[in-house]
Structure formats: structure tokens, C-alpha cells
């Protein structure tokens, strides 16, 4: 299968919580001896490889470490230990439109966002019409983004992210944005990107969308990989256990 597009090996991530919220010198001085340090072991050594063209779904309950894993792959966090390697350009769709500045207009924000994602000005010029057409915001593109609704901002964010020709796309439940028609359009675009051989990693609580687009699934539980396999197998097991847990708590 060649070189993996995403290579994760023995990945561990530990957060240190001080409980003082030390954001001033005063608190730091007052608390320096009685610091209540708590180590939060979010990822406890996970390994997997995603090969070009694969679409990997990551499911798990809140606090299982899904978002931390995405942030580590996106290089927002540095691993405590272990390796994360991404081959090719990466487009994180962690929170669509997160990089937008409210006081700049849509057009200016397209340029800044696409530059952050690694395009040169000329490349953005070439893709501009496609991006605007995809976002369906032609009439609003000269207005400041603060006047956009959250759905509009998300549409613009998605439009930019899918047009930067990234080899690897990271998504965090982004299919939940926009109205039904736009959702459908996004799903279509993702399918198109998959056909082009892009690698996609999508994080979810276990919705049916993952079952549709993923061809492999990882179930994260308490920072470890509980199950790794086909989407049907993993999702069925995951949903079954979720229902069981729910019923057990109900019976208590």
C-alpha cells in the first residue's frame, strides 16, 4: 500500500492541570508551593496508519480523546511522546471559519484562510470563483464576516478548506453544518475528494454519516483503541455498548 498518509505510532498526550488557572503573576506567586497538579492522560499510546485514499472514521464518547487526536494530527498540540506524521498538505476542518476575522470581508478572509492552509496568492486567484460559487455567498462576499450567520461562515470555511487541494482532510462533525441542501452538497464534495484519492479522517459520536463515507473505523475509549475495523463492525459494537451503558445507568 506504499507510504501511509497519516502515521501514528505510540502516541501519548498528557495535559497538566494546575487548578489555579495561573494567568497572573500574583496567582503564580501565591500558589507556587501548594499547586494541585493533576495529570490528565488523554491518549495512552495509540498507533495506526491511514493510507492514501482511505477514509477513517474515529468514534468514541465525550472525553475519549477524539478531538485531542485530531489536534495532534493537525500539529496544534505537541505529543507528550510518540510520533505523528502527515504526508502532504493538510486541511483541518476542526471548526469551520475559525480563522475568519469578523471585521474583514468574505473575500479578504478567503485569502487569509487559504494562505494559512498553504496556498500562494496566484493559486488562490485561480480558485477564487470556484470557492465563491461553492459557498453560494456571491452576494455577500464583500460584506464583513461579522454580518454573516454562523451557517454562512461555516459554508465559506468549508468552501475554502475543500478547495486548497489538500491531500489529507481532518473533519470534526462538520457535516452537521448548514441546511439540508448544503449538507448534501458537502457529502457530495467529500465523495468526490475520496474518488480523487484524498485521505480523510473524520471524527464523530457515531452517526450514520460515518457509516456512509468511512471505509474503516477506529473506536477510541479512555484514550486507547478499543476496536479497529470495518465501519459496520465497529459502529455496531460501539452503539451496542453505548446503549448497554445507558441502560445500566438507567437501572441504577
Amino acid at each position: 500500500m506504499g507510504e501511509p498518509a497519516i502515521h501514528v505510532k505510540d502516541l501519548q498526550k498528557e495535559f497538566v492541570l494546575t487548578h489555579t488557572g495561573a494567568a497572573s503573576i500574583k496567582t503564580a506567586l501565591l500558589w507556587w508551593k501548594r499547586k494541585r497538579i493533576e495529570h490528565l492522560h488523554v491518549l495512552k499510546g495509540i498507533s495506526f496508519d491511514v493510507y492514501p485514499g482511505q477514509c477513517l472514521g474515529v468514534v468514541g464518547r465525550n472525553g475519549a480523546g477524539k478531538s485531542t487526536l485530531l489536534s495532534l494530527i493537525a500539529r496544534i498540540y505537541k505529543p507528550t511522546s510518540g510520533v505523528v506524521e502527515v504526508r502532504g498538505r493538510l486541511a483541518p476542518l476542526l471548526e469551520l471559519g475559525a480563522g475568519f476575522h469578523p471585521d474583514l470581508n468574505g473575500l479578504q478572509n478567503i485569502y487569509i484562510n487559504a494562505t494559512i492552509l498553504g496556498l500562494r496568492k496566484q493559486q488562490i486567484d485561480e480558485r477564487l470563483d470556484q470557492i465563491i460559487a461553492f459557498s453560494e455567498l456571491k452576494n455577500h462576499i464583500d460584506a464583513p464576516v461579522r454580518t454573516f450567520s454562523s451557517g454562512m461562515a461555516a459554508r465559506l470555511g468549508f468552501a475554502v478548506a475543500v478547495h486548497v487541494d489538500a491531500e489529507v482532510l481532518l473533519m470534526d462533525e462538520v457535516l452537521a453544518v448548514g441546511d439540508f441542501a448544503f449538507k448534501k452538497k458537502c457529502a457530495g464534495k467529500i465523495a468526490e475528494l475520496r474518488e480523487q484519492g484524498k485521505t480523510i479522517l473524520i471524527v464523530s459520536h457515531g452517526s450514520d454519516e460515518v457509516r456512509k463515507i468511512a471505509d474503516r473505523c477506529i473506536w477510541l475509549q479512555h484514550g486507547e483503541i478499543k476496536l479497529d475495523g470495518g465501519p459496520d463492525e465497529v459502529l455496531d459494537a460501539y452503539l451496542k455498548q453505548s446503549v448497554n451503558t445507558f441502560e445500566t445507568t438507567e437501572n441504577l
Binding site: T20, A23, G99, H101, L104, Q108, I116
Partner: protein, 282 residues
């Protein structure tokens, strides 16, 4: 550090577009927009001229030019450092979502202010030209102005170094920006901006003059003034007549330059050490 510098070079387009963003946002909702960076020094020139020439009846010719030559670099310095100190914290939501070299944020703040400063310097030279035309005396322009780029580089490195340092520290301890604000404010009075640095020499000793100018802001103020304008005799208390200005002290300037380079590398080093923890800020 070199790996980080190389990464930064790969992201240089982003730095340019962040600077562009800084410049656009600053005057986003104002009618005059970019002209404000020229209007500020223009108003300053006007007020200084009225106060010192007509109200205080100061004998020194073109006194406002002498103040402006030190005041404009100080303004750049203050704005650049205050803006960059705040830059990481105010973009925290952005860096939690997407990767790019974090040093781009404080550097964009410094470069953006540097561009405003260069515009202000254009206003300064236009002002000198107006003085020259009206007085038919072109001696206000000095050959030593060719050293201006050297001063700009030193000033930029110092501002960038401190901007990197304070932006990293301020992310964890927000007291830093208040402390820096006070330090900069005090430096306005501790540096020869509204007066001439020679008072420490004639009033006291060369030793004091030297110590006083070890402060990089003091040294930069003096250097800009001496490089851009003709030597100006200084009126000192208890002296019967104005005393001649001292020439630019190159030893002090090179000390300031070395200090600035050191601060730049120190700031970048500290920033690189801390930058991965920004997103994990408590």
C-alpha cells in the same frame, strides 16, 4: 532555532497576509483609513510647533523637528511592543484550530507598526522640506541621514525581540502587558525625547552620559536625532551660553546594536520554548 526559522520562511506569505490584515483592521471602520497613520504625526508636528515656538517662545530653531525625530521612533516602539504583547492571546481561538508558526502573530504586529512608522518618517521628511523651502535653507537635511537604515534595522530587531518575548510571557501571565506598559511610559521621560541627552553630560559627567545612554530607548532617541538633524546647541542651567551638541557616540550605538541583536535571539528562543504550550494555557 534554525529549523524554526526555516519553517517561518516557508510561511512567509502568511506573514505578509497577516501584516496586510493588521493594516486593514486598524482603520477598518474609519473614513480616512490609511491616512490616519500620517495624520497622527502631522497633528503632533502642529501641536509641538504651536506650543514650543509660539507659546513657550523657545529659542531653538525647528525645535519641533528635534522632538519629532525622537518621538516617532518611540511611538513605533511603544505601539509595536504593546500590540505584539497582546497578539498571541487575542488570537488564541485561531491557534487552537489551525497550525502555522505562532511567531507570525507578534511579528505581524511589529511589521505592521513598522510600516506605519515608515509612513510617519515620510511625513517627517516632508515637514523638513517645507521648513527648508520656507526658510530657503536646505541645511536641515543632513548627509548623516544615510545612517537611517542602520537605525531602522536596530530598532526593528529590538522591537521584534521584545515583542516575541512579551507575547509569549503575556500568554501565561497577563500582568506582563501592564508591567511593559508602565516601563514604556516611564521610558518616555527617562529618554531624551522631550529634551536633549547632553544635559547629562554638561550637567554631570561623561560617566553619567554613558550610563544613561546604555538604555536602548535613550540611545535610539539620541541616534535618530543626531543622524537626521543638524547639531543643536543645548541650553543648560548655570551655563552662560548654549553648549555645543555632542557628536553621535558610535561606541554607544554599537552597544545598543549588539544588545538589540541579543534581545532578538533571546526573544525568539524563549518564544520557541513556550509556543507549544500556548494552546494548553490553563
Amino acid at each position: 532555532m534554525w529549523a524554526e526559522a526555516k519553517e517561518l520562511w516557508n510561511y512567509r506569505m502568511l506573514l505578509f497576509s497577516m501584516v496586510d490584515r493588521e493594516l486593514k483592521i486598524r482603520y477598518k471602520n474609519s473614513f480616512l483609513g490609511f491616512f490616519w497613520s500620517m495624520i497622527n504625526p502631522l497633528i503632533t508636528v502642529t501641536v509641538l510647533t504651536v506650543v514650543f515656538k509660539y507659546l513657550a517662545r523657545n529659542e531653538v530653531p525647528n525645535y519641533s523637528a528635534y522632538i519629532l525625530a525622537a518621538y516617532l521612533p518611540y511611538m513605533f516602539f511603544q505601539m509595536a511592543i504593546m500590540d505584539s504583547a497582546q497578539s498571541v492571546l487575542s488570537n488564541l481561538s485561531l491557534i487552537k484550530k489551525i497550525y502555522f508558526p505562532r511567531e507570525i502573530l507578534p511579528l505581524a504586529a511589529v511589521v505592521g507598526n513598522f510600516i506605519h512608522f515608515l509612513l510617519a518618517m515620510v511625513v517627517f521628511f516632508v515637514y523638513l522640506l517645507i521648513i527648508a523651502v520656507f526658510s530657503h535653507d536646505f541645511s536641515v537635511f543632513q548627509w548623516s541621514s544615510v545612517y537611517l537604515p542602520l537605525l531602522l534595522v536596530i530598532n526593528f530587531l529590538l522591537a521584534a525581540g521584545l515583542g516575541l518575548l512579551f507575547s509569549a510571557l503575556n500568554t501565561f501571565y497577563e500582568d506582563v502587558k501592564y508591567l511593559v506598559g508602565i516601563a514604556l511610559y516611564l521610558n518616555f521621560f527617562l529618554s531624551p525625547i522631550m529634551y536633549f541627552g547632553e544635559i547629562t553630560y554638561y550637567g554631570h559627567s561623561y560617566k553619567l552620559y554613558f550610563l544613561y545612554h546604555l538604555n536602548p530607548i535613550a540611545e535610539m532617541s539620541e541616534a535618530y536625532r543626531k543622524v537626521l538633524l543638524a547639531p543643536q546647541p543645548v541650553v543648560i542651567k548655570d551655563f552662560p551660553k548654549p553648549m555645543p551638541a555632542l557628536p553621535l557616540d558610535w561606541t554607544l550605538l554599537w552597544i545598543c546594536a549588539a544588545f538589540s541583536v541579543a534581545v532578538f535571539f533571546l526573544g525568539y528562543h524563549v518564544f520557541n520554548r513556550m509556543k507549544w504550550r500556548f494552546v494548553e494555557r490553563p
